[in-house]
Amino acid sequence: MGKTLFEKVWDSHIVDSVESEQEILYIDRHFIHEVTSPQAFEGIRRRGIGLFRKNKIVATADHNVPTKDQHLPIKDVLSKLQVDTLIQNCKDFGIDLYGLGHPYQGIVHVIGPELGITKPGMTIVCGDSHTSTHGAFGAIAFGIGTSQVEQVMATQCLLLERPKTMRITINGELDRGVSSKDIILYIISKLSTAGGTGYFVEYAGFAITSLSMEARMTICNMSIEMGARGGMIAPDAITFEYIKGRDFAPDGAALEEAVKYWKTLYSDEDACFDKEYTFEAESIPPMITYGTNPGMGIGIDETIPKNDSDSFKKSLKYMNLEAGTYLLNKKIDHVFIGSCTNSRIEDLRIVAEYVKGKQKADHVKAMIVPGSKQVEKQAREEGIHQVLADAGFELREPGCSACLGMNEDKIPDGEYCVSTSNRNFEGRQGPGARTMLVSPLTAAIIAIEGKIVDTRNFVNKIATA
C-alpha cells in the first residue's frame, strides 16, 4: 500500500519507535519567539545542559512588540522585559535572532517562508499553534507547548503519538470574490472546532492546487482552528517557484537535487487516509463568523443559525447578535488587516487593489499591520503603502498586533471588528471585543462601506488568493 504525503515526511524523521505508541520525531527547524521561549531557556539552564543544535533554531520578536515606533525603546515594562530576555537568551546560546530593527523581523510564520527557511519535506515546530502555516510547503509543521520547546532545545526531538490522517479535497473553481480564507472558514464551519482533533490534514483538489503559496498558507494556518494538529499541501511547481531565489533557499545543483526529492512528496494513489471529506468550490460563499469560535461561520448573505445549547446562546449574547437574523448591513467599528493568517504581500495587494481611489467609511477605524519588515518594504516599493494611506488606513509596523491583543493594539469593549485574523474567541482582540473573521478582500470592502455587505456584489473578477 502506498503512503500519504504526511507518512512520507513523518517516517523519514523517526529516530526510534519506543514503547506505548510513542515515536521520537527529529525536528529540522525550530522557530522561537519572546512569549513561549523564556521558560524553556530557564529549564535548559536549570538542567545545566546546552542547546543540542543551536543552528536549527531561528528567533524573532512578534507577539508582544509594539507596532508603532519600533525604533524607540518599548514602553510597556513587561513587554520590554520579555523582548530583552529573548535578546539575552539568543546571545547567551548563540541563536540567530531577527528581532526589532532587523530587516528580517516579522511574524514567525510569515518570515520562515519568505526567507526560504521553510521547505518541503521538513519537520518544523514553534511554540505557537499557527505553526501549521508552514505545511503549505509540504512540511510537517505544528505548534508545541513550552515544555516541548525545551525538549527540542535539549535534543532536537519530540516524543509523540502518531496522529491520524485526514484528506480534505476541494474540487472545482471558486466563485468571484471568494478566496482561500473563505475556503478554510467554510471547512471549519462544516467540521466544527473539534472536527480535526487527533488528525493531520492534507488539503487537495483543484481549488487548492490552483492557489498561490500565500493563499495556501492561509488555509494551512487555520488547520488548528478545527482542532487538527497541522495541515499540509503537496509541493508542486508553484511551491518550487516560490522558494527559488529566497535568501536561505538552496540554489544551483543543491536546488536541483532538492527539487528532485521534493517531487516525491505527494500522497500515493493507493495511500489510505483515516478520514476523507470532499467539498465543491462552487458551493463556498464569502464567509464571515458570527460567534465566538472559528467554527461559527456562515455565508455572508445567510442568517445566523438557531441552536438551543447554552454555549451557543452565551456566544450570541457576547456578540450581541440574534439567531435567525442577517449580518448584512450591520454597522462595523473596526477593520483589522494583519496576523499570520493574512498579512502577506499578496493580502496587501488585494486590499490595495480594491481600495485604490476610494475612502474608508468615516466611522470605521481601519488598521493594516504587515506580517514582516520584508512585506512592509515590498509594499512601499509597489506603492501599496501610499494607496492604503490615501484610503484612510492606518499603517503599522510588523507584529501579531490586534490578532491576540497582547500589545496595546486592542479593540474596545463592545465594539465590532471585522478581522482577517484567525480567532474570534471572547476577548481575543481585547476584553469585550466582538470579532468577525473574514478574508482580506471582504475586510477591504467592509472598511469602505462601513457595514457588512456581500463581497460578490462589489467585485467583477475572481480573486486569486
Partner: protein, 197 residues
C-alpha cells in the same frame, strides 16, 4: 513534575463547551518570563469585570464550590498552544480536568505539567453536571493506576484512556526531556544519515 497517583476531591463544574485557552488565560497576561503566578489571572475575564472586581455569578467566585478537579464541557483547551493555560490551572490549585473531549495541544501541555486530563463519555459528564447541581459536595475519585474515575456518592464508575508511557511519567514524576536525553547517542546516529533539503 509532581507525581500523580490518586485524587479524591469535590469539583468545580464549568459546563461551557469549547473553552479556549484565551479564556483560560488571556494573552495580555502572558508577559511573564517564569512559569509561576499565572493562577491569579486564570479565567481572568470571566472572574473579574473591567474594574478588577469579582463577578459574583461566575462559578469560581462562588465559595460554595471548591476542589482541585475542574469538570468542563467538551473540547476543553482549544485554540492557542500556550502552556500558560496548564500552568494557570495548576497554579490555581487544579490537579485534574474532567471533560468529554480535549484539544490536542492542551492535553499534551497538561500531561507535561502533572495536570491530569480525564476524558469521560458525554453521558458520564452529564451525570456529574446533574449531580453537582443537586449537591455541591459531589466528590470524584480519580485513580490513575487503574485508569478509573468514580463518583463517590453514586458509585458510578468509568475507565479512561491514557498513553501508557505518559501514565508511567505521571505516576513517577518523570518528564520527556529526561527520557529524550537518554537517547542522545541514537539521535546523533540518526543525524548521520538524515538529509535535510
Amino acid at each position: 513534575m509532581e507525581k500523580f497517583k490518586t485524587l479524591t476531591s469535590t469539583i468545580i463544574p464549568l459546563a461551557n463547551e469549547d473553552i479556549d485557552t484565551d479564556q483560560i488565560i488571556p494573552a495580555r497576561f502572558l508577559k511573564s518570563t517564569t512559569r509561576e503566578g499565572f493562577g491569579k489571572n486564570l479565567f481572568r475575564d470571566w472572574r473579574f469585570d473591567s474594574e478588577g472586581d469579582l463577578k459574583e455569578d461566575f462559578i469560581l467566585n462562588d465559595p460554595s464550590y471548591s476542589g482541585s478537579i475542574l469538570v468542563a464541557g467538551k473540547n476543553f483547551g482549544c485554540g492557542s498552544s500556550r502552556e500558560h493555560a496548564a500552568w494557570a490551572l495548576y497554579d490555581f490549585g487544579f490537579r485534574a480536568i474532567v471533560s468529554s473531549y480535549f484539544a490536542d495541544i492542551f492535553k499534551g501541555n497538561a500531561l507535561n505539567n502533572g495536570l491530569l486530563p480525564v476524558q469521560v463519555s458525554d453521558a458520564f459528564l452529564e451525570t456529574i453536571f446533574e449531580l453537582v447541581k443537586q449537591d455541591k459536595n459531589t466528590t470524584l475519585k480519580i485513580e490513575l493506576i487503574d485508569q478509573q474515575i468514580s463518583i463517590s456518592e453514586t458509585k458510578n464508575t468509568e475507565k479512561f484512556n491514557i498513553n501508557a508511557y505518559k501514565k508511567t511519567c505521571l505516576l513517577n514524576g518523570y518528564d520527556d526531556i529526561d527520557y529524550l536525553i537518554s537517547k542522545k547517542s541514537q539521535i546523533e546516529q540518526f543525524e548521520q544519515t538524515h538529509k535535510e533539503f
